[in-house]
Amino acid sequence: MPFFDSLTQSVIAGDPETCVALARQALADGLDPLDVINQGLVPGIQNTGEQFASGEMFLPDLMLAAEAMKQAIAVLEPEMARRGTRRQVLGRVVIGTIQGDIHEIGKNLVATMLSASGFEVHDLGVDVPPLKFAEQARAVGANLVGVSALLTTTMVRQKEVIEALEELGLRPGVKVMVGGAPVTRRWAEQIGADGFSEDALGAVALAKRLVCGEIPKKSR
């Protein structure tokens, strides 16, 4: 099997160990990391997405494929930095679970799916103060912030993230999407968020819509 096909297959199979080993081999063989990503990894994640869309694969398949790709890219990144090249990304996302809340599965799902879909994701983890979202967004030049909350009592702080972004003068350039079990469309509208989704794939579609045409220059 041609080398890139093996890489593609390891993504589709959701096999991070093989995928990482092949990425290391690619570096050892002197291949351009961008070619490895675009010709090896990306077709794999695309194929996985197509199989998911047709109902042959399920979310754990997607997550494993995304994980394989993420780990391989981590192996390739130092060489990209050395060559002064950068992967083209759809946008930069700062994501986290709001202060007072430590529920992270939903947030992690969204982060992984965004990453696999071509976004550069900066995951702040859980229990994140509103100002931290805004500061990180400024620091990395994000064009999208995702705020998760599972509790009705912590959900109210999603609004404070938007306020913090406003205080730093980042709105409306930086879009905000909110999510979590108690979050409704009405709540998102009420606090002035740009969108909400009930699930991870919806969040990816939303993110693409929100940042469409707003990719920062330096990522091109």
Binding site: T152, T153, T154, D199
Partner: protein, 517 residues
Amino acid sequence: MINPISFPRLSLNILSDEDVRRIHTATLDLIEATGVRFPLGRALDILEAHGAQVDRAAQVARIPGRVVEEALKLAPPVYTLAGREGEEDYGQQTIAEHPGRTDNARHMADDDRNLSPAVRRPWSSPNDLILDGRHIYLGTDGCGVEVIDAFTGQRRASTKADAADCARLADALDEIGFWWSMVSAQDCPPASRGLHELEAAWNNTSKHLQTESIVSQVEMEAAVRMAEAIAGGRAAMRRRPPLSIMQCTVSPLGHDAGSLEAGLAAAEAGLPVGYMTMASCASSAPATMAGALVVGNAEVISALALMEMAAPGAPVYYAAAQTAMDLRTGGYTGGGPEDYLFGAATNRLADFYNLPLSMGAFATGAKQPGWQAAVDNSFSSFMASLTGADMLLGCGLLHGSRILSYAQMVMDCEIYSIVRKMMEGIIVNEETLALDSIRAVGPGGQFLTQKHTRAHMRELWRPRLFDRRAYDAWEADPAGPADWALQRARELLQSHRPVPLEPAMDAELKRIIASVE
């Protein structure tokens, strides 16, 4: 008034004793070797003092299995949750005498309900819930964030007024045994929201309240003071707690700091505390149900053991609402065969630990009352009842516990009444064999005019919502169960007057809430 399922006669052999023992052993191994996250210094201190190995940086406690077992043995197997009434208001109720709990298969050894060993407790009232493994009580679902308005039909964000309304309807419906904080009072400050929900409910029902929305120590201490006020002092509150507490675990294998400190505050004050796992197959637990039971069990018993270490002998209960992730969206499903199996299996675990169970049942993922909601809520409530869950949660919310529907609330009560009838089973004795009556009628007669028929006909289940009309009548007026349910809810919301809270008591509750704002 409440209509519990008393002395159920049906049973289900879902896990063998060997299965339960393996789940238990696996759980203890996990707690001891892998550990459980307790992100609260005080909790780690308590666990360490009892022999746990504590990793402060990771906030993980590895607790020896025997320590967990010893702690759980301190929990009372049988206790009562009280209604709002004062001690002078009591009637009498019958309570099972045996000190332990067993699964229903063993209850079946008692040939007839009337022969079950029982004692009379002079201090129980008609709104008391007897958690003795022989009674099953229906509670409302929670904690919803939206309401389908009973009169406009509009869906909107829930408020304190909605908490009051649904508590008043719960008060009116005899099927409902207790009110679980049903909707979030989103028009109140987040830090005291759970207290406002309780105040709204105590002003509208004299049934027992169980809150799952108080997750900080300060708010819990205020809730304890409110419960003391309702009960008439600390001692009375411990004897007959009008409030019980539910906290959620953080799956997999973790807890939340606020939930831990709130749970500890409640347990130390003597309010019954339960920890609920919602560990879900394929996301926060393994895809296999046995593994998911182990993960959920580790979370629940590690938290309950902590409560017993902090407050030996504190009344605690097991709680669960496990499910399987939706494989397409990753979302919480709220319904499906795995939920129903979990509903039955969990009580086998709770029985094994000699603890009452508050089980997530009903709580359909359906968006509206209809086929899916009926399938979900029928199977889930029946399966959980078959193994004798003490408390069935979940009445009245749609879309996976998010949206309050008054029509669904009334329809769920009808489902419960069907389950209640089925759980009576079939009693076979001389009277029920009815041979005299059969002989008298003989071949080709009818039983309508038999006195035996008149004596027993009211034992047959009678519907409120099933459409048993003639076809022509239905064609002429195609309104159906959902319409009638909504109609009944509207009537009760307008007409039902709960026994009012004394104005001084109401003022005291409001004063306590104000003290934390």
